[in-house]
Each structure stands twice: as C-alpha cells, then as structure tokens.
Symmetry: C2
Subunit: 623 residues, 2 copies
C-alpha cells in the first residue's frame, strides 16, 4: 500500500473553504465524517468522501482539515492501515489512547480565535453536532452548517449516487404487508402523541415498504427517505425505479386507495424542503418523531419544541423482532448457507494440502458455493478469510498484498455470510486442516465454552443482551485470556448484517431488552497476535425457554442456533468440557446432520454430505 498524495487536494479544499460561492463566510476548519446522509455503517462509493480526501478507506474515521493541519481520528483497528494509506500531510489521531485529544479539544487548541468550523449538516448526526458545537461555542468558535458538501465540489470524478432497481418482497417473505406496518407505526405514534415520523435510516425505509435495493454493497437497501403522517405517506426516492410495474403494483401507486395509504412519491433531494414545510405548519403539541442520530439538517428542519427524539425508532424495534415468516425465511437461508459451507470445507480439506489455496481463492470459492443456492443475492459483508497470523487481525480482508496460502500447519478462520431473498447469514468457523497443537485446541475449547455459555443461557424476559456478555468470556478469563470485541450483534432479515437495537456486548448499555423473535450473533473469539485467530460464530434466535419455576410470572428466554454448520471436533479438547457442554455439542451436531444432511441429500451433494456426517460424529465421552 502506498499512501495517497493529497497535497493538491488539500490545497484545493482549503481554497473552497474560503470561496464565497460555497461558504457564506470562510471556514477555518472543515470536518469530513465517515457516514452518509442516513448515518449508514456501510456506504456507497459516492459517499466515501473521507477516503477521497485522505486516502484512508477504513470503515471508521473522521478527517478534519484546517488552514494549517489535516488530522484523522480513527480507532485501534485502523492505526496501521491509516498510517500506511495517508501521506505526510496528515496527522493520525489514535482514538482510545490516553494522550489523543478529542476532535473538539484539538480544534480548540489549533484554531485562531473566533473561528468557524464547517461541516455538511446532512452527514453529521444531530447528537454529535450538539456535543461538538457546545464545546466549540464555549471556546469562542462556531460550528456552522455548510450546505454544499465541500469535498463534492473538488471531487471531479466522484461516482454517481447509485440508483439501482428495487426488489419487491411479498408476504411469504415479510409476513406483514407494508400497509399493516404503517398501521402499526401510526399506533406507536398515537401512543407517544406524535403526528409525524421521519424515516431516515436506509434499512428502516426498506423494511417499512417491504422493498429491497442494491445501492450499497452488501446491504440490500436503496437511497430514500420517508415521512409518515397520521394520514399521509411520503416516499423520497430518485430515478425511474418508481416506473417499474412490479414496484407500482407492490406500492399500489395506481390503485384507488384510502387516502391514508396513498403513497406520495417525491424526489430524494426534496426531503429537506418538504420537512421544513411540515415543521412550519405544525400546531402546538404536534410533535415530529426522529431518531436522535438523524442528520443535523433534518433535525433542524423541525423547530426544537416540536421534536420527539429517541435513540431507537419504533421501526428499529419492530424490525428487530422477526415474525414467523421472517424466522422461517432465516431458517431456510441458514440451511442453504450451511450447504454451501459443507461444500466449501469438504473442498478445502482436499485442496489445502496441495498448497494452492490462498485466502482469496477460499473466499471466492465460498461465494461460488453460496451463489449456487436458491434466492442468493450477494454477500452480506466482505468475507474475512484469514490463515495463521492474519486470523489475529479481527477485521481482516484478504488483498493481494497480504494474501496468504492455507496450509496444514495453520489455523484457518472464515467469517462470511450472504444475503438471500429469504434471509441474511453471518457465520464464523475456525478450522485446522492438519493437526492442531494442544495449545490451539485449548484456546479453541475455551472459546467454544464461551459460545455454548451464551447459546445455552436461560435468562428472564426483559434482560438486555449486554448482561450476557461475561458468560462468553468466563472460561477464557479463568485462564487469563480474553478477546477485545463484543460478543454479538443484531442481524437483519434480508437486510443489514449489523442492526440495532439489541446485541451482546460489554460496551453497549443502551441496548433494548432481548425478546422472543430477535436474532443476534454469538461470536466469542481468541486472538494471538502474530500467530492465529479463533472465532466461533452462530446466528441465534431468541426463543421462550421452559423453566422449572417462573419468578413473578416473567417468563424466560434462551437461544436457538439458526446457523447449522459443524464445529470442527478435531479442535476440541474434550477433557476441558463439562458433561453439559459435551451434550450441547453432540445435540448441535445431531441437528446439523438431520437438517442440513436432508438438504444436502435433496440437492444431491453426496460428497459434502459424507463430509458432514464425518464432522458431526459424537464427541468421545469426557474422561
């Protein structure tokens, strides 16, 4: 990787920072955050403005350019990568280290008195604007919204905003029609006494209307906003996508509908002016509901007294609780995904000893097998295919420079998943194609114990996921080991592979309680820098648990694994397992055999079936 030369770009940016064509008054600093106007985690190429200006293309980072300085804040995952990708114009601000200033504090330390700090009000979330502007104001500076994105003004070959065709999902996939979702949303709105709801997150728009797109890689979403009133529905979307007869039919655009279900289609770019009009027309006590992470621009469109902001929107919460149709879809998707992985691992077992399989080859092969499955759409994230020391890089993605050949002497870690029309998958398996060392087996078994501790946990209704995180670590902690990431995240239903509002992590306390129907991952790991990485990840469904007693009639929950891919028994030190854990593994493998075995049989994949049967032999008894 050679760094991007940014001298000219920065010069150009500093010019437009003073150019009255773009800024009312010159700005002495300009902030380039990571996100897009929807605060998405995965973004389209046209939104990779921070990567454009700096060269650093990791998933998290904020650039700030002043007349004298250019600085980049990113976290521990990306210190090395950012240092490689940026030239000497840039200062790397290592977040999480003690001496690294916050963006605000740094700005205060470098800016001349009474400076203006500009930012695109569509990209910065309202809560972040508030925090930042408070600090700047108290130091005598001003955070100012710059309407035109200054990066866009200098990005001459900026790719177009994607505008790909939509996929309509019928009831067999979604379980609930978009009309019924609107009805449910309006009833939540009535409960909170709000008159309007603004849908800003792309996956929320997609979920609400039972539509999918492909504007962003890996995430089946499309650029759009929606504003739902008690009697109106406005959808802000561009292109000729609304000309598609299937979409028109799906949204009943040409039917005579009750007026409250009539969808008014408006240009994507008109959201701000339409919302300002809504804001201007509010009567006292008419509130507008927005996510507190919505952009500053949209939040400001509603006068403060009329805003109703919550960390999680009612759509985010409804979307997290999968209905039976979605759950069944997720089950089907996971069976197909397991078929693909049985094929892959069977293939790897044969090919790895030949010394010709690289991480990239293995990743491509995984995609190939997945793409053979019904309703396959695309991958759900960039495959993490890593062997030996690369496995210890938690967010590794093989590229030619780092591409390593799989061998019988190293642990191989594959974290991968796909979007199928009926569901989203995300699974990690850690395999050894030769003979693992006692130490590797020991570490693998601790991780497995943690995986089982979460998967088999029984907990009261109303428990938040973060309360389960320590269960995943306990076996590792006992031996002085640990892993430095959370244990699980929510998973969408043919939607984003990461979704709120629930998860299993020591870091988040703002998560919503787990309830039956929610789907999360269970993925503890252990990473030894320079040697290997281990992670065992299943997607699991929250289900009611039967218990002997029922304190305060609260009811209990537990998890059911949706992922049904064998866990390599060769890596397990059976003597470190309790009887209960051993039974868990055997029952899990029995289920893989029955469910995935039947599908392999049906698809005539006999060799992979034999592999599955071999890999799911019961564990030897604990000695």
């Amino acid at each position: 990787m050679s760094p991007k030369i940014t001298t000219e770009l920065l010069k150009h940016l500093r010019q437009v920072m003073k150019n009255p064509r773009y800024v009312q008054e010159p700005v002495q600093a300009y902030i380039v955050p990571s996100g897009d106007a929807h605060q998405s985690e995965y973004i389209a190429p046209c939104d990779c403005r921070r990567a454009f200006i700096s060269g650093f293309d990791g998933s998290a980072g904020t650039a700030i350019v002043t007349e004298q300085h250019a600085a980049m804040w990113t976290d521990g995952r990306y210190f090395l990568q950012a240092a490689h990708q940026m030239d000497s114009n840039w200062t790397l601000m290592k977040m999480g280290l003690k001496d690294t200033p916050t963006q605000e504090d740094w700005l205060v330390s470098v800016l001349p008195e009474g400076s203006k700090v500009g930012v695109d009000p569509f990209i910065i979330p309202a809560d972040q604007w508030k925090r930042m502007s408070k600090v700047l104001r108290s130091a005598g500076h001003d955070l100012v919204p710059v309407k035109e994105n200054l990066i866009d003004t200098i990005w001459t070959d900026c790719p177009q905003r994607p505008c790909k065709p939509l996929i309509t999902l019928d009831l067999s996939y979604t379980g609930v029609s978009w009309r019924d979702k609107i009805v449910a949303l309006r009833s939540k709105m009535a409960e909170r006494k709000v008159m309007w709801f603004v849908v800003t997150a792309l996956d929320e728009v997609a979920w609400l209307f039972n539509l999918r797109g492909s504007d962003v890689e890996y995430n089946p979403v499309f650029f759009a906003y929606a504003v739902i009133g008690m009697n109106t529905i406005r959808l802000f979307i561009d292109g000729d996508r609304m000309m598609d007869p299937a979409v028109r039919e799906h949204l009943q655009l040409d039917s005579t509908l009750e007026p409250e279900f009539k969808i008014q289609v408006l240009p994507y770019g008109s959201i701000l002016s339409e919302l300002q009009a809504v804001g201007a027309g509010l009567s006292p006590k008419e509130k507008v509901w927005l996510s507190d992470k919505a952009s500053y621009a949209l939040t400001e469109a509603i006068p403060k007294a009329y805003r109703y902001l919550t960390p999680y929107t009612p759509i985010c919460i409804a979307k997290a609780v999968k209905n039976p149709a979605e759950t069944e879809g997720m089950r089907r998707a996971h069976i197909k995904d397991a078929v693909a992985l049985c094929e892959l691992f069977n293939w790897l077992e044969k090919e790895v000893p030949k010394g010709t399989v690289t991480e990239i080859v293995a990743a491509d092969k995984a995609e190939e097998f997945r793409s053979q499955q019904k309703d396959f759409v695309e991958l759900s994230f960039a495959t993490i295919s890593s062997t030996g020391p690369n496995g210890a890089i938690i967010h590794y993605k093989p590229v030619p420079e780092t591409n390593r050949t799989l061998s019988v002497n190293e642990i191989y870690l594959l974290d991968s998943g796909a979007q199928y029309k009926d569901g989203t998958t995300d699974v990690t398996r850690t395999m050894h194609f030769g003979t693992p060392s006692a130490y590797e087996k020991e570490c693998f078994t601790y991780v497995l114990k943690g995986h089982i501790a979460v998967s088999a946990a029984i907990f009261p209704n109303g428990t938040k996921g973060h309360l389960l995180d320590s269960f995943a670590r306990s076996a590792l902690w006992d031996c002085g080991l640990d892993y430095l990431h959370g244990t699980g995240h929510g998973v969408g239903s043919f939607l984003n592979v990461h979704e709120g509002p629930c998860g299993i992590s020591y870091k988040t306390f703002a998560d919503e309680p787990l309830e039956a129907g929610m789907i999360v991952t269970d993925e503890p790991g252990y990473y030894e820098d320079g040697s290997f990485g281990i992670r065992i990840e299943n997607v699991v469904l929250v289900i009611p648990a039967e218990t002997k007693y029922n304190f305060k009639n609260r009811g209990s929950l537990t998890f059911e694994p949706l992922t049904l891919v064998p866990i390599q028994t060769k890596m397990i030190d059976v003597n470190l397992l309790t009887e209960k854990e051993r039974n868990w593994v055997n029952e899990y493998h029995q289920q893989c055999r029955e469910v995935v075995g039947a599908e392999l049989e049906r698809q005539g994949r006999h060799e992979a079936l034999r592999w599955l049967l071999r890999e799911t032999e019961p564990l030897a008894p604990v000695q």
Copy 2:
C-alpha cells in the same frame, strides 16, 4: 402504624411559602428531598425534613408541596410503608410504575402558568437541579433556590445538628497520614490542572483527615466540609471539637508546619461565603474540582467556566482502594465479627426451639455479642433480623408491630454488621433451626451457587463490577428464578457500609473498574413473597489472581472472602453443586475453622468453637 396528621403542618408550610420573610417571591411549590447538605445516604435526625413534613420515614423519597397538592415519590421498597405512614393530604407517587409522572412532569401538569418552584439549594445536588430546572424552564416555570430551609422554619422542635467528639485514627489503622493523603490529592489536582478541590461528602472529609465521628447513626462521620488548595487547607467544622487536645495534636494545629499543611479551621456555616470568595478570586484557567453530586449551592459558588465536575472524586477513588493497614484492619474486624456470630448462632440453636426468641431479641443479642469485641464502636446499619415471610421484605427492620418469633419451622435471615475501629462489617446468613424443605434447600443452593460464581470469578484487571452481576444469577435463571436487587456494594474501612465508586449490579454502568485492594459485598438472594427470604452475603477483597496465561499482560483479579462465618450446610442440596463448588465450600469452611477457630479459642469461647467445628464439617461428596 398510624399515619402522621399533617393538615396543620402543610397549612403552615404553605404560609411560609408566601412569606416574604423567607422567600423573595412566593413559591407555588416547594420540594423537600431526602438528603442532607452532603448528599448522604444515612442522615441525622435534624435532616429528616421529609419525614417531618409527611410522616414517611423510609430511606428514599421526595416530597413536593404545592398550594393544592402534597405528593411523595418513592420506590417499590416503600410503597406499603409510605401508604401507611402518610395521611390523606398526601398522594403517593409510585416510582418505577409506568403511569407515574416524574416530579418535573407532575409539577408542569399542576402548576399555574409562570410558577416558582422552591428548593433548598444546599440539599439538592447540582446534577438534579440542572435536569429539573431545564424541564421547568421549558414549561415556563422557574426553579428557585430558597436560602432558608422552609421546613426548618416550621419545625419548632427540630433536633439540634449533632456535634459529637471526634476519634483520631493513627497510622496503624489508616496506613497513610492525612498529610500524605493531601500530597496525593494535590498531585491528582495537578494532573487535572485544578487549583482547588472541595470535599463535600462526609465520609471523604473523615477519610482525608483520618478522623471519625458519630454525628450520623451507623456512619462514623461528622459534619464538616474541606477546601483543599495547592497551598492551603481549610476545614469547616463546628463545636468545641477542635479544642480536644488529641484532635489538635492529630491535625498538628499547634505545631509550626510548612504553610501548605497548616489547617485553617473555620465555622461549618461559612463554607458558602468562603467558597464564593475563592470563586471570585480565580484567575483564568484556575479550575475548582467538585463532585457533580455536590449541592447546587456550593456548585453555583464557583462560576461555571471554572468548575471541574466529575462523578467520582479522587478521594472517593483513593478511599475505595484499601492499603495494607486498612486491609489488615478489615481482616481483624471480620474475625471478631465472626466470633460474635458464632456465639449468636450457637445461642439461637439452643434458644429458638423454646419459642421465646423474637426477631428483635435476636438482633439485640447479635449487637450484645458484637459489643463484647475489641474496638467495637456501633452497628454499621439497622440489623435486618427476619424470619419466615418477613425475610422476603428485602429492607426489613423488625419493629414491635411486625416482630415475629423465630421457630424451627421457618427460615431465618440475619443481615447485620458493625463498625469496629479497625473495620466495617456486613454479613448475611440464612439459617434453618429445624428441618428445611427440599424446595427451601434447592433455592438456597442456587443462591449459594451464585455467591460462589462471583466469589471465585477470575476476571481481567480493569473489569467493572457490573460485568460480574449475571454470574450471581445464572443458577437461579436456569430454573426461572431471580432476585430484584444488585449483587454487591463497596464497603468503607471503619466508614460507610455503602460506598462508591465500585459495586456489582446490573443497574449501574458508571462504576469504576475493580482493582486490587477494593472491598465489595457479594450478596445474591432469593425471595418468595409471603414465605421466606434467602441471602448469602460476604464482604470480599479484590486480590490479584494467578492465571495460566496473561493476555496482553493485563493481569487478572479475583476475590478473597473477608467474612468468615459458616454457611449452613444443612441448607445445601449437595447434589446441585459441581465438584468445584463443593470444594469451594469445604475450603471456605476450613478457613473459618482455622482463622475464627483460633480466635474463639483465644477468647475462651469454647461452646461457640464447638458450634463452629460442627458447622464446618466437610460436605458429603457429590453423588
């Protein structure tokens, strides 16, 4: 309990709310919080203003009186008690229930436009003022500080503020001199670039100067403030306590000292004016450090730009990490405490079958045995002595109306502790003096498993206590059971039995990480309304743990029980224990035998020693 008749009192209060002698402008509402000017959990009788005006004397509750209404907010522990103690003038606001308005929302709903809401600025913490005043202001009202406490103006027989003699603690108890504590504090101040530190919490003043008092029952503290500058020490304290030669000698008041260690003694009541003078004399960049829970009055004395507020003060954090002298003192105190409890339980075993021992008699007997021990000062909280259904009332304190006789047919729960000059104790044991049912044993054993899971947990340095809370619940959760309180709290060293900044609870995420030397309780429980209560509580010391590996060189921690009182084996269903748990119990009991046995022998308490030996027989092997 008959309710307090408050009609005349409320009439009187409403008069002073309009009396220009006390208020600059009439206030339409007056708030009476629970606390004192130091935000103490336990308060002196003269500070029980909320109990005086309402009759409700629980430990938590806020009264608000308007011209038309009188309302009391309290939590689930006190719904019944508050309803019994208050007359019909009062409306009970049940906190935690869905339909209960917050104090602010309620005020907004009942107040006439543009109202003034008064509160004593010394009693309300600054963070609470901020929250409340924001809501009131946005609804067109004003929160106003009322200098003179309006309850005090109508409380004609208000007890005097206590002003009891002080106890000086030498190095053998404290391990560190007050001078060295000041030096350490000033170095923390220099690190944060603050010039002044204001000590507002009573236990922080006591700890800093190695002094103790008895102004508040159960808490060995005294009414005082301190303001520490980089070169000055000001102690605000009343009475002739500074005339005591031992105190003068201890504080070196009459010695020729370096000026920066010279303590300037000022009247308790002069804190505000002195602090205002400090505030007025600050140069730019001179910050003043206060707890964010300090009173609004003291916080306001410092202009906003000069305030440095943190949730935990450096004293709070330093105080939590016990030094070797303190740890040794705590050990000694717990051995003496165990001697007293061995005597008590031996006595109860003989006396309970006679049917003459009530909860109050048992509590008194516990105090009697404790008071026989060296350096006993007083109890550390009101003894929870509860049998049968009373045990299910988590914060029960026996009173004549509820006093129940212990019997061989009911579970008895004793949660008690004492202040010794060398340490503070807090221990809960649950006993059966007849034959427990299989169900009682089952529940007890789940609680014991939870207790052991925390006590034996190994976890990385830097782990916050709340991440351990679920370990205590796992065995109960497996069977659909749970308990509705946290698992542990910090314990002072001959100081408050509840202290920050660490603890073990699912409720708190603002706790500081556990570190070696901290002392907390481990007290899971199970409560069956109307039947029985079970709790097993030890005070435990955080110690370094030896582990097989040492990830990222972080080091690991675990707990060592300081409490050494047998856990009744009769209540244990051994078949529900794992081998590891059984060993834990046997090793714990072996330690009780050795350590407490030796002390019983030394004190010639042979009958109690025989009881101890009987109660610490190893458990039968797991079948």
